[in-house]
């Protein structure tokens, strides 16, 4: 009986886990649109995703912005289930995430399964992977500009959604009709509630080792969004926006000896991570005249990561407590003032200034040790780390010039000043774009952008931990620099068909890889533990879309090369780990009935690359000739989903029940590899996959 209960519990929990994994599915079928901005005809490499696309085209009712972006041409996700995007051969750490103009530093929850953006709050997303407008800077590969939705000024409404891994609730409405509104959302993940009993149920203690041994795991994530909008007058709108996100993960081992005897002893080991974001901003939009508009943003943004180790030894007569925390933190206080100006005929001007004060604590060690009791009493506290106060200033201007009804030119310039300890970096970043539209259906564009990134996000490649370390450019670590040239042709013969072909060339300098001997960089000398390199990528992207009353089908294919040159690793260019030569994503949505939508997404891309030893014994082979010399088989999977909608008799209430399956045909896509030896002492490559077929269910209520 006990076995049966445990079995059912395990099955249930596996369902929980797999449901979490299935969130990939919902994300991948959100259909995006190539929609040029009406006010900028020269914009290349930009994709706009509207709120309606998220809301009505999600498979599980929880669309995810980053997972959606991963399905676009020129974008790869790196590892399965990750919450990062590698854009046109970028590093994954070079994307600017903006939440109502404010940068966010941690983009993922729960090991990347969820992104930090709650789509119930999102109005639209503008995704730039080239042709960057001059107002954007500070990152080298992409800009994810997320606009939050103002609360409804005239009626209350909301969303409630529940799945097996998380739930979310969103509510919006007027505080003062037509003047002041609120929009609030919370999300909470409850994976821990099921994982903890599972760990306790299945773990068999080694009785010979101790009297009572327990193992426990904790995981939780939650986030809160709130936006208040005040329409002060017909010319002024002020909004206050806040976001708090929190992740916690730990693994505990506990031992008990001796019960209540005099030899009583308890040992507790805890190993874990905490990470998250905090954001607070105020935005003032003012129409200076019919043709000029000013948007001012004042903000505080904080991203942190803490890897900690805790040890408690409690004896019958005294106790020891030891806590070590490795903390990385970045805090920004900033202000932006942006102007749009259409005063001059045939000119559309954008200009502004941005100032931000960064406080970096790249890696700090805090250590405390306490002994108390009859034996001795002792306390020790120690902390070590460097803090960097780094002001950053940017000035920019650009002009969209209508040369003729068919020819448009955009020229811009951005200047950046970044001051760090004993060093100042200046950068002039030219932006240029030209568009020729011979008719309404066809457009041809080229663009040129240079971008500078004065901060580095470095992850120890030995660690798969969720956190990351934000480090400033210093006198020895230079800002990352990129140059992107794009050319694009788009043909939209009618409302049903869209074809887009884009080519890109990209160069990157001052990339850094961690080379230290420890899992975490040394707090005292982290700058000495990195080696510098450069990168380049080029490719061509194809996107096609067909929409009809019943069907909405899109296909994105990318043929690209992504290479790196790190002299410390190899004396020539070599393929990047995520050099996925071919990348194909096909989405299909079939409106089978007014209340039933069926979705499917098929993903196919070349496998990731790993470095395997070639010379020496297999277990100690240390010579590989060149990095990333082995490519795993192609990654592919099919996700399907179906939405059943019901409309309540009470007006305005929709219910959606979503069934979905991730990786329908259980493709064993390698998640990581290891070298093993067979019975004949011959080495072979073992590829482990951890996401086979995963069904899930979700219920969502719109009221």
């Amino acid at each position: 009986m006990k076995r049966t209960i445990i079995t059912y519990m395990m099955l249930f929990i596996c369902g929980i886990i797999t449901s979490a994994q299935n969130h990939e599915t919902i994300d991948s079928v959100v259909v995006t649109e190539y929609r040029p901005r009406a006010d900028k005809k020269t914009q290349t490499s930009m994709i706009k995703i509207d709120r309606q696309d998220f809301r009505f085209k999600a498979v599980l009712g929880t669309p995810d912005i980053i997972k959606t972006l991963q399905t676009l041409p020129g974008v790869t996700p790196g590892n399965e289930m990750s919450s990062t995007i590698n854009v046109r051969g970028g590093t994954g750490n070079d994307n600017l995430y903006l939440l109502d103009n404010v940068p966010l530093y941690q983009s993922g929850h729960f090991l990347g399964l969820f992104s930090v953006f709650n789509t119930d709050m999102v109005e639209s997303v503008d995704f730039y992977k080239g042709g960057f407008p001059a107002q954007f800077g500070g990152r080298t590969s992409s800009v994810v500009d997320v606009k939050m939705n103002d609360g409804d000024m005239y009626g209350h409404k909301g969303t409630f959604s529940i799945g097996v891994t998380d739930g979310r609730f969103q509510m919006e409405g007027p505080i003062k009709e037509g003047v002041l509104s609120y929009n609030v959302a919370v999300r909470y993940g409850w994976v821990e509630a099921f994982v903890r009993p599972l760990l306790k149920a299945v773990y068999v203690p080694d009785v010979s080792y101790s009297n009572d041994y327990t193992r426990d795991g904790h995981y939780g994530f939650s986030d809160i969004n709130a936006k208040f909008t005040w329409v002060k007058s017909s010319r002024d709108k002020i909004s206050f926006n806040t976001y708090l996100g929190f992740d916690y993960m730990s693994y505990n081992d506990s031992e008990l000896y001796g019960g209540n005897s005099s030899d009583y002893k308890k040992k507790v080991f805890k190993d874990g991570n905490r990470w998250g974001n905090a954001l607070l901003s105020a935005m003032w939009e003012r129409s200076l005249s019919e043709s000029r508009k000013m948007t001012s943003t004042f903000y505080f943004s904080d991203g942190y990561y803490n890897a900690f180790y805790e040890r408690l030894n409690k004896y019958s007569d005294y106790k020891e407590y030891d806590l070590e925390s490795n903390i990385s933190n970045i805090a920004d206080v900033g202000a932006k003032v942006h102007f749009t100006d259409k005063t001059f005929d045939r000119h559309y001007l954008n200009y502004g200034v941005s100032a931000v004060y960064h406080l970096f604590s790249p890696i700090a060690l805090e250590h405390s040790y306490t002994q108390a009791g009859s034996v001795r009493s002792d306390e020790m506290e120690d902390s070590y780390g460097h803090h960097y106060h780094s002001p950053e200033l940017a000035l920019y201007a650009e002009d969209e010039f209508t040369i003729s009804p068919h020819l448009y030119l955009n020229a811009g310039l951005r200047y950046m000043l970044f001051i760090t300890k004993n060093k100042a970096y200046n950068a002039l970043e030219p932006r240029f774009a030209l568009s020729y539209n011979p008719n309404r259906a066809l457009s041809m564009k080229v663009s040129y952008s240079e971008m500078t990134q004065p901060i580095h996000q470095v992850e120890s490649f030995k660690s798969e931990s969720p956190g990351s370390f934000w480090m400033p450019a210093t006198s020895t670590m230079k800002p990352i620099w990129s140059r992107i040239v794009s050319a694009e042709t788009e043909w939209r013969p009618n409302h049903h068909i869209l074809l887009n072909v884009a080519g890109f060339w990209k160069w990157m300098k001052h990339l850094y890889e961690y080379t230290g001997r420890n899992v975490l960089p040394s707090p005292s000398a982290w700058e000495t533990e990195f080696t510098e390199g450069k990168g380049r990528s080029f490719g061509v992207e194809f996107y096609g879309e067909f929409q009809s009353e019943k069907w909405d089908v899109s296909a994105a294919y990318t043929l690209s090369w992504s290479q790196r040159y790190f002299k410390a690793f190899y004396s020539d260019w070599y393929s990047d780990r995520y050099d996925n030569r071919h990348n194909l994503v096909i989405n299909g949505v079939y409106k089978a009935h007014q209340l039933i939508d069926v979705y499917a997404t098929w993903t196919l891309r070349s496998g990731n690359r790993y470095t395997i030893p070639l010379y020496g014994e297999y277990y100690m082979g240390r010579e590989s000739l060149y990095p990333n010399n082995f490519q795993v088989p192609a990654y592919h999977r099919l996700d399907i989903g179906i939405d059943f909608r019901a409309v309540s008799a009470r007006k305005g209430r929709d219910y959606v029940v979503t069934f979905a399956v991730y990786n329908l045909y259980a493709r064993k896509n390698p998640f990581y590899i290891s070298i093993v030896e067979d019975v004949y002492n011959r080495p072979s490559i073992k590829m482990t996959s951890i996401f086979p077929v995963l069904p899930s269910i979700r219920y969502t209520l719109y009221f």
Partner: protein, 304 residues
């Protein structure tokens, strides 16, 4: 997540078969799809042209003589590699030149390969070339240049001895440090000249060396904090207490590595165990690098 799934699977394997109804069978199938057989295997790919390559390991300038280690590295898929107890002689030959002039090499044949000793004291700017050949493998050649220390490199160097502990600081001119591969350590020679075995005292002398890297405080800055080993108390093989009194000579060394040596060392010190792809040996593996050692001062402590 993976350990969880494995533990679930392990528990299921122990389940009582009598309890498995049709409903449970369906659930088992689902669970199997979710957790089972997630591993697949691929044969080892053929990614290299040669069955074996010569590996050179040489650091020029670290000592008064230079040693070149030569070994033969086989493909890990190679079926005919010699076992440890049946090593074939390498039969290598080596040519060591400095600024174009060939120097005499003394060859020692070891079990794992050959060792060549060259009596050569490195000077900054020397161009060192190594050429090695052996039957059945491609020739290997490498080159390095002994690095040079700028005259005003050291900005601050001081130390004191308090409570039997060396404390101090070494700092370099910031503008110089960016282009150099630097490290600093204490080169310690302990001389034991008196042994006390419980009630008996023996007079003798022996020495041993060790190297203690200095703690890095920042870019081009190190902290000296070393407790002097004035005596050592231990237990000998027969269980008697040993008290050894020693003299200590400490050299404060600043080391400037050539790029090749620095890059090769990165992989040796890395805990990732990822295979190294760096080499400056053309046609082979390994490295030939150089080091300039600057001894800033020498401290000698005498036995009390």
């Amino acid at each position: 997540m993976v350990p969880v799934a494995l533990e679930v699977r392990a528990a299921l394997e122990d389940a009582d078969p009598k309890l498995i109804s049709m409903k449970n069978i369906l659930l088992f199938i689902c669970l199997f799809l979710l957790t089972a057989a997630c591993d697949s295997y691929a044969p080892y790919p053929v990614l290299a042209d040669e069955d074996a390559l010569l590996k050179l390991e040489c650091t020029v300038g670290e000592a008064d003589s230079t040693v070149v280690y030569v070994s033969k590295e086989y493909l890990i898929t190679y079926d005919h590699r010699p076992s440890d107890t049946d090593s074939e002689p390498l039969n290598s030959s080596l040519k060591f030149t400095v600024n174009g002039e060939e120097l005499e090499c003394i060859k020692y044949i070891n079990e794992g390969g050959d060792r060549y000793v060259v009596h050569y004291v490195a000077h900054s700017g020397d161009v060192v070339e190594v050429f090695c050949s052996a039957p059945g493998v491609p020739d290997a050649t490498a080159e390095t240049v002994v690095p040079e220390a700028p005259a005003d490199l050291v900005k601050d160097f001081n130390y004191t001895v308090e409570d039997n502990t060396l404390k101090g600081r070494l700092a370099l001119n910031g503008s110089q440090t960016g282009s150099l591969y630097l490290s600093a350590d204490l080169d310690i020679t302990n001389v034991i000249h008196k042994y006390e075995y419980e009630d008996d005292v023996y007079i003798g002398s022996r020495s041993f060396h060790l190297s203690d890297p200095l703690s890095v405080k920042g870019i081009g800055e190190w902290i000296i904090d070393y407790r002097l080993p004035r005596e050592y108390i231990g237990i000998d093989d027969e269980g008697r207490m040993i008290r050894e009194i020693i003299d200590t000579e400490i050299r404060f060394n600043l080391k400037i590595s050539s790029e090749e040596l620095y890059f090769a060392t990165l992989h040796q010190q890395s805990s990732s165990m990822s295979p190294s792809s760096y080499t400056n040996v053309k046609g082979g593996l390994g490295y030939v690098g150089a080091m300039k050692v600057l001894t800033l001062d020498t401290y000698i402590s005498e036995a009390q």
